[in-house]
C-alpha cells in the first residue's frame, strides 16, 4: 500500500513485516525514530517481539548476537558513535556467521560532535565481514531491508547485512512509499532457520578459540562467501522484482552511462541530486553520467570496471575520508584499473562531511573540475576559514 511516510516510519513498518523475534537497540540521533516506531508497534500489540532496551550499542549488537545464535531473527539500528562502539561486536557477528540485519542511519563521527549526515561511520567498518548496502531513496531503503534478511539468512551466505541510509535526509525525509503486504513478504522471506544454533538437544560450542592452524581458513571462508554474494544479490533482487513488481537493490545502477564521457561514482541519497544535475547538463548536450554503488561490500569489482571502462574522466564523490590517505572508495575504484590497459583520469572528491549541503552547483563544480587537472582528494564546498 502506498503511504506518505517519514523514512524512519517506513523502515519500522518494513522491519515489522520481516517478523523479527528480538529487537534490541540504544538511542542515538538520527536513528531514534526507527526504534521508536517499532516500540510503538509493540506497545500497540501489532508486533509480537521481545523488545530489549539495552544500556549501550555494544550490548544492543551483543543481545542480537545471542538471539540469532539461539535461532531467532533479530534487528538493531544505530548510527555514528553507536556503530563505532559496536565495532568490536560487528566483527564478532560476522566471524560467528550470524545473519543480523542492521540499519545504520549514516552520521558524521566525533570530534567535533556532529549529528548530521556523512558516511564515515559505516565506511570505517567496511573490513568487518558485513555486506553493506547504501540506499538512495526511502523506497529503496525499505526494500533493501526485506532483501537484506533474505540474503543474510541464505544458507550460502550467513553473513550480516548493514543497510545504510543517510541520516536526516532519508531518516527524517518524507516520501510516498509502497509498503508491501504481509503475505508477499512472507512469501519472499521464509521463517528464520539456523542449522548451527544453541540447542540443548544438539549441544554445539560456538565462538571457539582458533589458533594459527585454523584462524586463516575462517577468514578465507568469509572472503569466498563474499565472492558468491556478488552473484546471489542480483538473484535476490530479481526475485524481489518478480514478487513485488519493483526493481530495487542489486549491485550498481547506471544512469546515462552508455555514451557518457564524464562520470561521477557515488553512493546513497546524493545520487538523486546527481541524477537531476545530469539531466540539466545533458540538456546542453554534454555527455555526463552516474554510476551508483548500491552494494559497497562485497565490492562489485567486475561490474564497476565494465561500467566505467570506456569512460575517459571519472570522479569519485564520497562522504568519507581515510585521513592521511584518500577517500576509501576512490582508492578502490582507482585500483580496479591497475594493469588493465584502459587508463582513465580518475579524480577523488570529498563532499558533504558533517551534513554540509551538496547542491546541484556542488555537482556541477565536480563535473567542471573533471575536465581540469587530476586530483586525488579535493574537498568541495570548503569555506575559506582557517581552523586549527
Amino acid at each position: 500500500m502506498k503511504e506518505y511516510l517519514e523514512g524512519s516510519q517506513a523502515i519500522a513498518k518494513v522491519v515489522a513485516l520481516c517478523r523479527p523475534g528480538v529487537i534490541s537497540a540504544y538511542p542515538i540521533t538520527p536513528q531514534t525514530h526507527i526504534v521508536e516506531g517499532l516500540a510503538q508497534l509493540v506497545a500497540d500489540g501489532e508486533l509480537k517481539v521481545e523488545f530489549v532496551n539495552v544500556e549501550s550499542e555494544h550490548s544492543a549488537a551483543s543481545c542480537c548476537l545471542g538471539a540469532l545464535a539461539t535461532g531467532v531473527r533479530a534487528y538493531t539500528s544505530t548510527s555514528s558513535q553507536g556503530l563505532l562502539l559496536m565495532a568490536e561486536v560487528i566483527f564478532n557477528i560476522a566471524g560467528l556467521r550470524l545473519p543480523l540485519v542492521l540499519t545504520c542511519a549514516n552520521r558524521a563521527v566525533s570530534a567535533p560532535i556532529n549529528i548530521w549526515n556523512d558516511h564515515q561511520d559505516s565506511v570505517t567498518v567496511r573490513d568487518s565481514g558485513w555486506i553493506q548496502f547504501y540506499a538512495e531513496s526511502i523506497q529503496e531503503a525499505a526494500d533493501l531491508h526485506i532483501q537484506g534478511y533474505r540474503l543474510s539468512e541464505d544458507k550460502r551466505v550467513l553473513l550480516p547485512v548493514m543497510i545504510n541510509i543517510d541520516g536526516y535526509i532519508l531518516t527524517h525525509g518524507y516520501e510516498v512509499v509502497d509498503i508491501p503486504a504481509q503475505e508477499l513478504v512472507d512469501k519472499f522471506l521464509p521463517p528464520y532457520q539456523l542449522e548451527r544454533k544453541l540447542d540443548p538437544t544438539h549441544p554445539l560450542t560456538l565462538g571457539v578459540l582458533a589458533g594459527p592452524d585454523y584462524y586463516m581458513e575462517t577468514r578465507f571462508a568469509i572472503e569466498k562467501t563474499m565472492e558468491d554474494v556478488l552473484s546471489i544479490i542480483p538473484e535476490i533482487s530479481n526475485e524481489f522484482h518478480r514478487t513485488f513488481g519493483r526493481n530495487t537493490g542489486g549491485l550498481i545502477e547506471k544512469y546515462c552511462l552508455e555514451d557518457a564521457q564524464r562520470v561521477i561514482v557515488a553512493m546513497g541519497s546524493v545520487c538523486g541530486t546527481i541524477k537531476e544535475t545530469i539531466d540539466e547538463i545533458r540538456e546542453k548536450g554534454e555527455k555526463v553520467g552516474l554510476l551508483k554503488i548500491i552494494t559497497y561490500r562485497p565490492l562489485p569489482q567486475e561490474e564497476i570496471y565494465q561500467a566505467l571502462k570506456k569512460v575517459k574522466e571519472i570522479a569519485v564523490l564520497e562522504k568519507a575520508i581515510s585521513l592521511g590517505g584518500f577517500g576509501p572508495l576512490y582508492t578502490e575504484i582507482k585500483s580496479l584499473f591497475q594493469g588493465k590497459g584502459e587508463n582513465p583520469k580518475i579524480s577523488g572528491f570529498i563532499v558533504g562531511l558533517g551534513g554540509r549541503d551538496i547542491t546541484k552547483n556542488s555537482i556541477k563544480t565536480v563535473f567542471d573540475k573533471l575536465s581540469g587537472k587530476q586530483t586525488d582528494c579535493e574537498f568541495i564546498d570548503l569555506k575559506n576559514v582557517e581552523i586549527r
Binding site: 539495552v54 550490548s59 545464535a69 560467528l96 578459540l209
Partner: protein, 293 residues
C-alpha cells in the same frame, strides 16, 4: 555412569580452581542449559578448535558482553516459549565481571532477565599473565601491581561485587568457593530454582597466579573463608539472609603464607601492611556477623 558436562582433557593448569568450579556449576545445572561465556581462561582452555570440553550448548563472544549475549539468548527463549525448559548461565572471570563486563551485567540485572551470572574470581587477569583487576585484594603482588621499593602491591582492597549485585534488588546473590563444594552446589541449585537475575560469586584459587602448590587449591580456598577475607554470604532481594559462620577466627597470615603473591607481607618490615589486611578480614567478620558467638 557419571558423565561430566565439562569433559576432562581440556588444557587448564593442574590445580585450577576455575575448572573445578565450572564443572560443579554445569553438572548441577544439567543438560538443559545454555552457557554464555566471556573471554578468559575458561573459554580458552575448554574450546580450542577443533576440540571442546562442553557437552552443553556454549557460546563465547567477547570479553565484556556475556551479560548482553545472555540477555539475547534469554529473550530468544522467551520468544520461542522455551524459557521454562532451558536455564541460561552467563559466566566470566573477575575482570569480565567487575571491570570490563560490569556494564552489560548491570544492564541485564536491571532489565530482569532470567539468567544466572557467575563470577569465577581468581583475583587477577590470569589469562593474560596475572595483571591486577578490580577484584584483586589489597597488597597483592601482580605483574601490573608489582612489589617494589615504593610499592607493596595492589593499592586498594577488592571491589565489593556481591553488594554491587545485591543493590540491583535481584532475587538471589551469593558468594561461594571451591573450598566448600557442597555449599557451592546448594547455592547453584537454589539460584536455578528462582526466576529473574541471580548472581553467584565463586572464589577460585589459581596456583599459577597466586603462586601456591597445585595440591593446595582447596586448602587455600578454605582459608580465604576461615580468615574472613572471603566471606560466604547470601542476599535475597537486597537483604542479607544467611552467612557461613566461623567457629574460630584464623589470622590472615595462615592464608597469606601459602601464596607467593603475598610473600612480601610476611617480612618484619611489612607489619603495618599486614595489619591493614587483617583489618579487612576483621571488617568483614563484623559487617556480616561471621563469628559464632
Amino acid at each position: 555412569m557419571y558423565k561430566p558436562l565439562l569433559s576432562p582433557g581440556h588444557t587448564a593448569c593442574g590445580g585450577c580452581g576455575q575448572a573445578l568450579a565450572a564443572r560443579l556449576v554445569v553438572d548441577i545445572a544439567g543438560p538443559n542449559v545454555i552457557v554464555v561465556n566471556n573471554t578468559g581462561c575458561l573459554e580458552v582452555f575448554s574450546t580450542g578448535y577443533p576440540d571442546s570440553s562442553w557437552e552443553v550448548p556454549f557460546i563465547h563472544s567477547l570479553f565484556e558482553n556475556a551479560g548482553a549475549v545472555a540477555s539475547g539468548v534469554e529473550s530468544a527463549l522467551k520468544y520461542l516459549k522455551k524459557e521454562d525448559q532451558i536455564n541460561v548461565i552467563a559466566q566470566a572471570g573477575d575482570g569480565g565481571t567487575a571491570d570490563i563486563g560490569l556494564q552489560a551485567l548491570s544492564g541485564m540485572w536491571e532489565r530482569g532477565h532470567n539468567v544466572l551470572s557467575i563470577c569465577y574470581d581468581n583475583e587477577a587477569y590470569m589469562n593474560t599473565g596475572i595483571q591486577r583487576s578490580g577484584l584483586t585484594p589489597l597488597d597483592t603482588n601482580t605483574t601490573t601491581s608489582p612489589v617494589g621499593k615504593f610499592s607493596s602491591g595492589n593499592i586498594r582492597p577488592k571491589k565489593n561485587m556481591i553488594e554491587i549485585a545485591s543493590a540491583h534488588g535481584i532475587s538471589y546473590v551469593a558468594s561461594a568457593t571451591v573450598g566448600f563444594p557442597r555449599d557451592l552446589q546448594r547455592k547453584i541449585k537454589k539460584a536455578l530454582s528462582l526466576k529473574g537475575p541471580k548472581f553467584l560469586h565463586i572464589h577460585c584459587p589459581c596456583p599459577l597466579g597466586w603462586r601456591h602448590e597445585p595440591n593446595l587449591t582447596l586448602e587455600v580456598a578454605k582459608l580465604a573463608v576461615e580468615t574472613g577475607l572471603f566471606p560466604l554470604v547470601e542476599f535475597e532481594f537486597g537483604k542479607l539472609i544467611n552467612v557461613y559462620k566461623l567457629k574460630e577466627h584464623k589470622p590472615v597470615e595462615e592464608y597469606l603464607k601459602l601464596q607467593g603473591r603475598f610473600k612480601h607481607l610476611l617480612s618484619p618490615e611489612a607489619k603495618a601492611e599486614l595489619a591493614r589486611v587483617q583489618e579487612i578480614a576483621d571488617g568483614n567478620i563484623e559487617r556480616y556477623g561471621l563469628l559464632v558467638k
